[in-house]
């Protein structure tokens, strides 16, 4: 009989290094005097995964802006939506909404986080105190969920299941899904413009020859969760562009304006027209031939104003892709100057086709904003007017810069260079 003992010991220690950055003395730590207030902004990095950061900084009009050593990291792609002095950041892939405010030291601190099981995609606000939001499943027939959130606490006050048009709760019908593209509350009425998408989840727009808005009595409750009526207008196409949170806006006098795109590059298509590849242009079957434009619902009414249609396609030379209200019946807008891309291409890099214009909503005129190059932009937060200016980041094939636009004169001033992909929005959370 033979005994033997084996003793084995294996140890390994590893260190994977990818050369951490050492320029920590960059813009991250330049502490300017506390007299100048910081602007907060939604920065998207170009590093792997393109993470997003909520950053605050005093000077955004000179030098460079980067996320080097600064900013609160967010996961995945996010909607940034300000309400009063609170910024809500809602994940499209990471299913939660976090809210931030400035603390006494002027730094952003998290208020709260709430979770959801389907991403919130439509947003609105009531005053400075309340965020409203809705999920927007693009297939099947399920109720939508309407969230009311307190901007002081960042916490959900109520969730109400609601329907838009009869088909989206499972009763058979047109085979389309009502896909909300905006939320606006005025005088205890809730307006939800929507696109009609095919209910198979293909994101086609089979019924694009009409603008639709569902009108509700607000607030929604479990027993008040269907529209009191759906208003329609055949002069333009479905309202809203995918992923924009300002497809419906309200002027100072209470008039409501909505924008309709209807273009192939803006996501409107019928089945069989394309295979969604850049090398395959569409076959010339437009989802609609209705012009891109703006409709109005006059103050104190809940119908489209039959006397008003702003044919933006004619006035500005292209389809409207995004707009937001500036005050004084003026709006700023992006216009797609070239429809020769592919399905959704206005959303994507390499299609630098949008120009920036100022729209006079009353006189129905469009003025190009000089000094801003043709650019590409997927998402822009609701604008905040800061000392008579709005701030935008403008991306071209070669670089990205902050621009400041005077809302009176429509003059643009080029600011800091952005060392990153884009800035989705600028927020003054101080006041």
């Amino acid at each position: 009989m033979k005994n033997s003992i084996l003793l084995a010991c294996i140890t390994s220690i590893g260190l994977i290094g990818c050369g951490g950055s050492n320029d920590s003395n960059n813009n991250a730590t330049d502490k300017s005097p506390e007299t100048q207030e910081k602007l907060s902004f939604a920065f998207k990095d170009t590093s792997e995964g393109e993470p997003e950061y909520l950053i605050s900084k005093e000077d955004i009009m000179s030098g460079t802006i980067s996320a080097q050593g600064v900013g609160t990291e967010q996961l995945g792609w996010n909607f940034f939506y300000p309400v009063g002095n609170t910024i809500f950041i809602s994940g499209y892939q990471n299913f939660d909404t976090s809210s931030y405010r400035l603390n006494e030291a002027g730094d952003t601190t998290k208020l709260n986080t709430f979770l959801y099981d389907k991403p919130l995609q439509s947003f609105g606000r009531i005053g400075d105190q309340t965020l409203i939001a809705s999920d927007a499943p693009g297939a099947g027939h399920t109720d939508r969920k309407f969230y009311t959130v307190d901007a002081n606490s960042g916490l959900v006050k109520s969730i109400v299941e609601y329907t838009i048009h009869g088909v989206d709760n499972g009763t058979a019908g047109l085979g389309t899904v009502a896909w909300p593209t905006g939320l606006l509350v005025r005088d205890n009425k809730l307006f939800i413009p929507f696109q009609k998408l095919d209910d198979a989840g293909g994101y086609y727009t089979p019924d694009a020859d009409t603008a639709f808005i569902a009108v509700y009595d607000y607030p929604l409750t479990p027993s008040n969760n269907t529209p009191t009526k759906i208003i329609e207008d055949p002069r333009t196409t479905n309202i809203g562009v995918n992923g924009s949170t300002t497809n419906i806006i309200q002027a100072d006098n209470g008039d409501i304006y909505t924008m309709s795109n209807g273009g192939f590059t803006g996501g409107f298509a019928v089945p069989g027209d394309h295979d969604n590849k850049p090398e395959t242009p569409h076959q010339g079957i437009p989802a609609t031939t209705k012009p891109s434009g703006i409709l109005r619902i006059a103050n104190a009414t809940t119908e489209f104003d039959a006397s008003y249609f702003f044919n933006v396609e004619e006035a500005a030379g292209g389809k409207i892709f995004w707009f937001d209200y500036l005050g004084g019946n003026k709006a700023i807008a992006r216009i797609v100057t070239d429809e020769a891309g592919y399905w959704w291409s206005a959303f994507y890099k390499d299609y630098y086709t949008t120009k920036l214009v100022m729209l006079d909503l009353i006189n129905k005129t469009s003025t190009n904003i000089e000094g801003i190059p043709l650019h590409q932009k997927r998402y822009t937060s609701p604008l905040e007017i800061i000392d008579g200016h709005i701030y935008l980041s403008i991306e071209t094939a070669t670089d990205s810069h902050v621009y400041k636009v005077n809302i009176e004169t429509a003059e643009a001033t080029k600011g800091a260079k952005i060392e990153g992909k884009t800035i989705k929005g600028f927020y003054d959370l101080n006041n």
């Binding site: 084996l6 003793l7 084995a8 140890t11 220690i13 990818c18 600064v70 996961l75």
Partner: protein, 104 residues
């Protein structure tokens, strides 16, 4: 991003005769806390991190017939510590397994 990890294993085998063998093995895995995304971007205190992970596994094996038949009883993560496969995707806590292996 710097990513520190360590792995150690130690074992003891005892041949009861030339025919049967009992082995015991202990493994330890350590992964230091690291960042989900690029280290240089963002405030270090406000970044998504994957927490430090330290787990121990214990394995007892009885082999018969010159290693032809093997019975292995394994307990993984014996101290029940949180560990992750990916960001926020948690790996199993303490788990037991019985493995029967025939080599031919």
């Amino acid at each position: 991003m710097n990513h520190l990890f360590a792995y150690a294993t130690t074992g003891y085998s005892y041949l009861t005769d030339s025919y049967n063998k009992i082995s015991i093995n202990w493994s330890t895995n350590y992964v230091h806390e690291y960042f989900l995304s690029w280290e240089g971007s963002g405030d270090k205190d406000k970044k998504a991190t994957i927490d430090e992970q330290l787990t121990h596994d214990l394995e007892l094996e009885y082999s018969l017939g010159y290693g032809k038949y093997n019975i292995t009883l394994a307990a993984t993560n014996i101290f029940d510590r949180a560990s992750f496969d990916n960001y926020k995707i948690q790996k199993p806590s303490k788990a037991y397994s019985l493995k029967l292996r025939v080599d031919y």
